[in-house]
Symmetry: C2
Subunit: 366 residues, 2 copies
């Protein structure tokens, strides 16, 4: 068993990573000092695969566990579904020491975490992420949220889980495209913080795509470690945590511009990372070779680097809609080298548009 | 100007108390290092009296302030109205450094605070409480919430304001019954922590009821100081903060049993404090004289000590519905003496029912 500790004083917690960790859910929950009643939240897809078994394991270990499934997909991440979950929690008479367990991908983690953060002003929250993207990104760091009709994740909180339980076995049933989307975030960790890890990814691309459990365990471990290291320094995103947004500035704009229906999150971030690398190169911050090595690994992991469906001007406008924009200034995460980024909020408009032209494969600039 | 500091590390803040503090809103906001755009949330009653003037003062000092009023009363404290406020904030393009200001009583503070805690995962929040109850209780300590159809304050967070601005002048337009409901909480602070303050209240009852600004300033100051002292020790109510619930265990049951339409919060708490004192006396923890001196000051401040509309069995059942009940155990706040309480979660059922019989003025016990 591999453990990554997230050190946040009273809110510190462990991430347990291995194959078959979820079989030990009962033992893990017993160490949490929570009440016997547990609400497990999942979606109908993951719930059918793993939810019932998880609840049975908990019951076998003396817990009173109940599974509640919402429809799969981003559409469930809203205040109406949160209201359903509050009602369920109240009906079950969950008190402040009863845990809410999120079993699923990012949507389930974000939604359940928001409910756990706000039900009775906060109850113990456990993350059991089932997708690679959730394992390396959304389940660690305490960002929870639901969407508003006018934008994603606009309603949320910083609320740390009490524990994250990562079972590498879950990845065996993960569709390939979902694997690739997770790999985009894994590549990001190499890009922002660890050239050696980036090289490891390049060297093990075959084993990764073959879902070799030992290699997957290692890339999840190192990704969580890097994310934990960043979050420990800046829990509520007032400074350095922003580096986790490498590729996300343009990525979010691409997702919005294509109405979240063409590219999934990792794919949009892949294109966004390539765009940010281009900007860095145009500013003279990093070499063309650095941009190319990034492009190469993205393509190797079946990720896109172009979004021809998007228009330069549309993307440019959408950049300013991000909730990280402060005083109308975009904080760009730019590249010095593989494993080394810095923050910059003064990129000339023409440089940004040049990069947008390249990733949208447009011939003309307005 | 009187200041009370709430020491909560990075979340520390000041409570500024005086007559006419609200005239200085612009200066105070300038010290907060927030962006120019400010959303002031109020209800139509308070908004008409003070809201427009407050926004004008802010604009005069260079802010872009907007007033948004919801209907007055508990009915506005729900997720639907919160959703309206999120939409307003998004439409105004408030970013993470833009402040939300709550101008009103407890409902406005709790609702605005919940929105501030969750909009973009938290934005700067300023409390300007206009009722005595909000000034001494809800605006200090970071408890924010909205109601669920199945119970009050079931959806919320612990989210500290960046500043609390208390203007004693606001109390001049406060209806008498609203003054009395605030005084119930003021008496509570004396009962749980400060015999000398309790004596001060007894000695100055005339000046308090006459709304003498200097005396009101002093009782608000000392109440905030006691609340801050408790909250500093236990921000998220895992231990000693529970003493603030003195009178609230029975009080909440009375409010629920009468459908929140007979007694306001302070009145229910007054009866609840009397009930808790009776239980303490029956357990041999405090003298009959202590119970009587409490009863005397409650009546002097035009607060009730009996709830004849309620039934013993109904109240008894409702006691267990409180969100502070853990593992089906009620944590009672009981009285040793004026200014000295302790927590007890093992009060015999017959002692509780005896006290309920007395406060409901029932002749028979089931």
């Amino acid at each position: 068993m591999v453990n990554v500790k997230v050190n946040l004083e009273k809110r510190s917690y462990n991430i347990h990573i291995d194959v078959s960790t979820s079989n030990l859910i009962g033992n893990f929950m017993q160490t949490m000092k929570v009440n016997k009643k547990i609400l497990v939240i999942s979606d109908t897809a993951v719930g059918n695969l793993y939810g019932i078994q998880m609840v049975e394991l908990l019951i076998k270990d003396g817990f009173i566990a109940e599974l509640y499934c919402v429809p799969p997909g981003e559409h469930s991440k809203n205040l109406d579904v949160a209201m359903e979950l509050y009602t369920k929690a109240i009906t079950l008479e969950l008190d402040r020491n009863c845990a809410i367990v999120a079993l699923g991908g990012g949507v389930i983690g974000d939604l359940s975490g928001f409910v756990a953060a706000t039900y009775l002003r906060g109850v113990p929250f456990i993350q059991i992420p089932t997708s690679l993207l959730a394992q390396v990104d959304s389940s660690v760091g305490g960002k929870v949220a639901v969407n508003h009709p006018m934008g994603k994740n606009l309603i949320g909180a910083f609320y740390q889980p009490r524990m994250v339980l990562i079972d590498i076995n879950f990845l065996s049933t993960l569709p390939n495209r979902e694997l690739y989307t997770g790999l985009a975030e894994v590549i990001k960790y190499g890009m922002i913080a660890d050239k050696k890890f980036f090289t490891y990814l390049c060297d093990h691309s075959r084993q990764i795509l073959d879902k070799r459990p030992d290699v997957l365990t290692e890339i999840v471990r190192r990704s969580c470690e890097i994310k934990a290291w960043v979050v420990e320094q800046d829990e509520c995103e007032s400074s350095i945590r922003a580096i986790l947004n490498f590729g996300h500035t343009i990525g979010h704009a691409i997702e919005a511009d294509t109405n979240f229906s063409v590219y999934n999150h990792g794919e949009a971030v892949a294109i966004g990372m390539y765009g940010a690398a281009l900007i860095s190169n145009h500013l003279g911050m990093c070499s063309k070779a650095t941009v190319d090595v990034l492009k190469h690994i993205l393509l190797q992991f079946n990720l896109p680097v172009y979004a021809p469906e998007c228009g330069i001007e549309d993307l440019f406008k959408l950049l300013y809609r991000d909730k990280k924009v402060l005083d109308n200034k975009i904080t760009w995460v730019l590249l010095n080298d593989i494993g080394e980024v810095n923050l910059c909020n003064q990129v000339p408009e023409n440089i940004v548009k040049l990069a947008l032209a390249e990733i949208t494969q447009s011939n003309t600039l307005s």
